[in-house]
């Protein structure tokens, strides 16, 4: 057996959200790997397996929009004041030499009892000068070493979408319950199928991926792809120290791809009867015809998004770290999570704008306080019908989240208050107005080991 250090090959990507118990086992597959003159059979190299568990159990103590009723069209409960399993993740990481694999299962009861693959990534570390267990592809929490180094990794499978700060941030590190509105809208679950390249050069990281464009949690085609063309998504960021205690991360993201509008089947002409005088009898004047329509073909449309983010981190003695994060995203036809768009049906492009500002403060290693303001406008050009004219309509929504957490090693007990500002309800005069939907949630979170 040849030791890993003598091969000058770093360990493959380790777990990003979770660290696991490692099991080193020899003999897994055959093959050879040439490393500067030292030829070694891969089957002789040890492989490592690690498992990890991550649980988030939520108690939605109160949510204003809850009703003891069901949605009459879908049959789903309208009550959201409940206990739920938000995330139950079981993950296995395996690696041998430059090749590694990661498989993560997600169980939750958000919409129903669900068990699904959440990540399934095969990674090949093409080139690396990092020390073992130091690189995490597509992970914004990655802290590069001060010495200059290079790391190039090819990834394939169900993996993170490298767009925006929050899509890259791990659930463990996020100081509030959920990602911001715009991130959830554009990237849905933040996981999609594709291949990607992750390049780290000193303080600069570049992640680019070629993906289906139908992320998990997308409404219609999650995990599938109705179009031949794929989405190209990428993010570049620098993570640099600005002194002994202050660090800066600044990034830029871009995405471009193709959306899908489903065609319709042919509709036959039909005879309609409207019982105008409600006497229960069919009369000549109450009959009308509905013209049929031919089948329409499916169409595709272009979509794109750009985003920028900046983060400052300052480490205080004893108290802990202060984080300030700002992100701004502009997109066209890219909402796939909150209000999925179909510009073909709407007859125009749909422009989205969103962003968030987060401030968090560690309170020693036992506590954390965070506040985030998130804004999202799913359609900057939306309109509504007035009695005489078409009027502009404000569709924007915002969410202020205030969270206080008690921390025990990797585990947290987090209490959060969310105050919403949106235009999803209607006032007495028919103007879109705020839907009362404030929420108080208690989260019990454990990351094992």
């Amino acid at each position: 057996m040849v030791s890993l250090s003598s091969l000058a090959i770093a360990e493959p990507p380790g777990p990003s959200e979770l660290t696991g118990n490692s099991v080193t086992t020899p003999e897994f597959e055959t093959g050879t790997h040439n490393t500067g003159g030292a030829t070694t059979r891969l089957k002789d190299k040890p492989f490592k397996l690690s498992t990890s568990l991550f649980l988030q159990n939520d108690w939605v103590i109160t949510r204003q929009s809850s009703e003891d009723e069901i949605d009459r069209s879908t049959g789903t409960p309208l009550n959201e004041t409940r206990f739920l399993l938000r995330r139950g993740r079981l993950r296995i990481d395996g690696s041998r030499g430059p090749i590694s694999g990661r498989f993560e299962l997600d169980a939750n009861t958000v919409n129903s009892v669900t068990l699904r693959p959440f990540e399934a990534v095969v990674s090949w570390r093409i080139l690396s000068s990092l020390v073992p267990n130091h690189t995490i592809p597509f992970d914004a929490t990655f802290r590069p070493a001060l010495s200059r180094h290079v790391d190039i990794t090819l990834n394939g499978g169900l993996m993170r979408i490298p767009f925006g700060f929050e899509s890259s941030e791990t659930d463990v590190n996020r100081p509030v319950l959920e990602r911001s509105l715009v991130s959830r809208a554009l990237m849905a679950s933040g996981r999609d199928l594709g291949i990607g390249l992750n390049v780290v050069f000193d303080i600069v990281t570049l992640s680019i991926a070629y993906m289906n464009g139908e992320p998990l949690d997308e409404n219609r085609f999650a995990g599938l792809d109705p179009t031949v063309s794929k989405d190209v998504v990428g993010r570049a960021f620098v993570d640099a120290p600005l002194g002994s205690r202050l660090k800066l991360q600044a990034g830029f993201s871009a995405a471009s791809g193709t959306g899908f509008h489903a065609g319709t089947a042919a509709i036959k002409p039909t005879l309609l009867w409207t019982d105008g005088n409600e006497n229960g009898l069919v009369e000549q004047s109450e009959l009308s015809t509905s013209a049929g329509s031919p089948a329409t073909p499916s169409k595709s449309y272009s979509r794109a998004a750009i985003g920028a983010n900046i983060e400052f981190r300052y480490d205080w003695p004893v108290l802990g770290q202060t984080r300030c994060v700002g992100e701004l995203i502009r997109a066209k036809n890219y909402d796939r999570g909150i209000l999925p768009v179909d510009p073909i049906s709407q007859g125009r492009d749909v422009r989205e704008l969103g962003g968030s500002i987060l401030l968090s403060q560690e309170l020693t290693r036992f506590g954390q306080f965070a506040a985030r303001y998130a804004y999202y406008d799913p359609d900057a050009d939306s309109t509504r019908k007035g009695t005489r004219f078409i009027l502009p309509k404000n569709s924007s929504m915002s969410l202020l989240s205030v969270a206080l957490a008690a921390r025990f090693s990797n585990d947290r007990l987090l209490l959060e208050y969310d105050h919403n500002r949106d235009h999803l309800a209607r006032s007495l005069t028919g103007i879109p107005t705020r839907l009362r939907d404030d929420t108080v949630t208690l989260r019990m979170e454990v990351a094992l080991p």
């Binding site: 009703e67 009723e69 005088n277 409600e278 229960g280 009695t387 309800a425 209607r426």
Partner: protein, 302 residues
Amino acid sequence: MIASSHLWLRSRWLPMLSNVAFFVACTDGTSADHGFDANLNVSGGTFFRGDLPISGKGPSVISLYLTRLAFAAGYVGKSFSGVLEENSVAAAIALEGDVGYFSVDAKPPGAENPTAPIFETALSFSRDVAMGEHRLLVWAIDAQGQLGSMATTSFTLLESEVPDSDLAIRLTWDTNADLDLSVEIPNGIVISSANPSSAVTAPGQAPEINQTGLLDRDSNKDCDIDGIRQENVAFVHGCASGHYRVYVSVPSLCGETAVHYRVEAFARSKLLGTATSNLTATTRRASAMQNGKTLALDVVVP
């Protein structure tokens, strides 16, 4: 509860203050209350629980139009429209004594009165509304949210209607399940939702009307709940002598645990006979094993 004479001025400082105090602002906006427990449902309307903020300074209602002023309890989709004074942007509609009211958007003026906005909607009534006379209360609303004077229109809720015919079979039930009525007439033809008319049509000829039975509707079809829970087969122009076997089937309980149904036979609105029964998921399965339908009545016409 909606009272026609109640006045309540909404103060304006509270919403302004709540906009400033972000954390205290959880009470502004509109609640997610759908008003499923209200006795009136207004299609396309927004429900507001409680009393109306009536100021009397808003525009007035010019006219109201309700098709047929007497109809069956539990009626679904009754057309209701009205003409509002200029500057109206919406109309508030309430059933007197109900737990809340609905707001519907006004539409552009019609050709008859080019300055007056109109509203058009469909009303559905709960079966819990008592038989007898009731009042619909309507207010016009301007862009500032001010309501004008109240307009009313009265209507009468009747017991479930029976077609005035030589022979009528009526099926009614009490929960939102999907039940089907079918009647096998003396010549062997079965009138059902798949074959709603017993008329035998010769090619090129008009359908025979005499002694023809017609099924009026397939209520709650495929669990698309319409709330009517009633199906009738009527022979308006005579009926042949012989046995009329009346069957009830339950394609789906639509999530309900049980259903109680009643089958009645009438001759010129005179009750001939009644059959009632209960069905649960278990008895429905047993029924399904026997071609899925139960013989409820056998009416003999001499």
